[in-house]
Symmetry: C2
Subunit: 307 residues, 2 copies
């Protein structure tokens, strides 16, 4: 039976591979590592890369934390039902491990990307996997979005013919900035609370999750490589600032990982590494008709079929 | 008896006076007005000023909205008690009116400021006033913080000798970025759900609220005037970006007005006018020992006595 230690170990190696691939493609900056410990149990390896040829600010984080399940999460897990006194469920221990990535490139023609794979278990025997990848181009390029979704579909299809369709829709719903009525980017896949059933084992689910993790580096470095030498002007940088502003809005208002991290007394600098070096807001901005910016906005919708 | 229409009317005039005073002190830019209507009832006058001599981006907003109390708010008002079917309280009408201000200056030596005064009533007869002012200097200047707090204390003292002490503490607790363990700035005053008692009438409370509103312009324009010609360098601008990043964190994670606005389907561009034109985040940034930046951080604590 697959143990939490084995999962953590595999996630650490995944972090290593991804960092090596990103450094290689960036060609200039190297990741700097901070090892940290969580007071209540566990810790992590936060790796940050800055001011590279391609990557302006990015992080590839591994963590494995444990302890008593925090109250806010317990209530959530129990579906907001009132706690039953003397119930075993009141204070189970938990173990959570995962890899999280956000990369903000300097060149607005290179997309922002996010990836997360995670495993959670409780001492009462409940466990699940979760994760996802999504792409946030400052300028949507159809060909790139198609390439990205095809890569995800291929990885999903190796495991279950329904995964891509189901998790692509989940991503559309999750990576959504409700108050703007905009998706964060061109989506990707998202899944949560995957646990064994009659038709899938823990090992099979973990194989799938690792496959998602392994899809990240070849897919994103290809997009870096393809776009990193494109020229851009002041107008493109301005637009990048506004798109980054939207990214900040999503991460601080809706992102469940950020919420979980801040509410469970996580390491703030690791949680908020997802925020860009700079971002901007302009009152009532609206792009010119038929501009590349307007075209990009027209693609920030749920339900677009990208492959 | 003071009516909601009289309160709204006074708030509109307050908006007019404040805009005139800010334009006068800025000396270059003028406010642009957007009149908007809320589908469910009411609307507002959003006034935005940009790229001035002193003010880089700011808004002075008036609104008066009404309709059925939104569900999320109703639950909140009932203290999270389960709704009683057939209760009168289930869907009362509400009326909310107020003036909200956030000013982001270009020069990092000029502080950011926020002010809000508001009135809320429901068709079941419940009503209250709320409001506050708080100052967020990029660089804390003791003399300015003292001047600001003295002005607030003077205004409070005219109405009740306990107000300043009580509402200053409330501001320390409210304008607090929990995950950073930092106050947003040097505080000010904050109060909510003020309603009549044996010792205070609705008219007296409204006089106090208007006094708070009227304290804004002379106090802030004095701070603009005193600091607007100070020189600054690239390092100061960088620090301003980081402080603005914290301001964004507060507004998107903790600010109840933002939360109320977004959840009640408010006008997004008006609600998020509080965000600066630009903001920044740097991983694990820590100012040099004994630098002005470190001194500023040392002041971002609750419980400092400023007068």
């Amino acid at each position: 039976m697959l143990t939490k230690e084995q999962i953590s170990e595999a996630f650490m190696l995944l972090q290593d591979r991804i960092c090596a691939a990103l450094e290689n493609e960036d060609g200039k900056s190297k990741f700097k590592e901070d090892i940290w410990k969580r007071e209540e149990g566990g810790g992590g390896r936060t790796r940050i890369i800055q001011d590279g040829n391609v990557i302006e600010k990015g992080g590839v984080l591994y963590s494995a934390v444990h302890g008593k399940v925090p109250d806010f999460l317990l209530n959530n897990l129990l579906d907001n039902k009132p706690k039953t006194p003397n119930s075993e469920l009141q204070t189970p221990n938990f173990y959570a491990t995962g890899v999280s990535i956000v990369i903000h490139p300097g060149n607005p023609m290179v997309p922002i990307i996010h990836m997360n794979v995670r495993y959670f278990e409780m001492s009462n025997g409940v466990w699940w996997f979760g994760g996802g990848i999504d792409l946030t181009p400052h300028y949507v390029v159809e060909e790139d979005a198609q390439f990205f979704h095809s890569a995800l579909k291929q990885s999903c299809d190796k495991h279950n013919p329904n995964y891509y369709k189901e998790y692509k829709k989940w991503a559309d719903d999750y990576f959504f900035i409700k108050h703007r009525n905009e998706t964060r980017g061109v989506g990707g896949i998202f899944f949560d609370k995957l646990t064994q059933t009659d038709s899938v084992t823990k090992e099979q689910l973990f194989d799938f999750v690792l496959e998602v993790g392994n899809t990240f580096a070849p897919t994103y470095t290809k997009l870096m490589n393809k776009n990193k030498s494109k020229t851009f002007d002041e107008n493109n940088k301005q637009w990048q600032m506004l798109r980054r502003g939207r990214y900040v809005e999503f991460n601080l208002i809706y992102d469940l990982g950020t919420k979980f991290g801040l509410e469970s007394n996580g390491r703030v600098e690791s949680i908020l590494m997802s925020l860009p070096k700079t971002a901007g807001w302009e009152y009532n901005y609206s792009p010119k008709t038929n501009s590349p910016e307007a075209k990009t906005l027209s693609y920030l919708k749920k339900g677009i079929s990208w492959q």
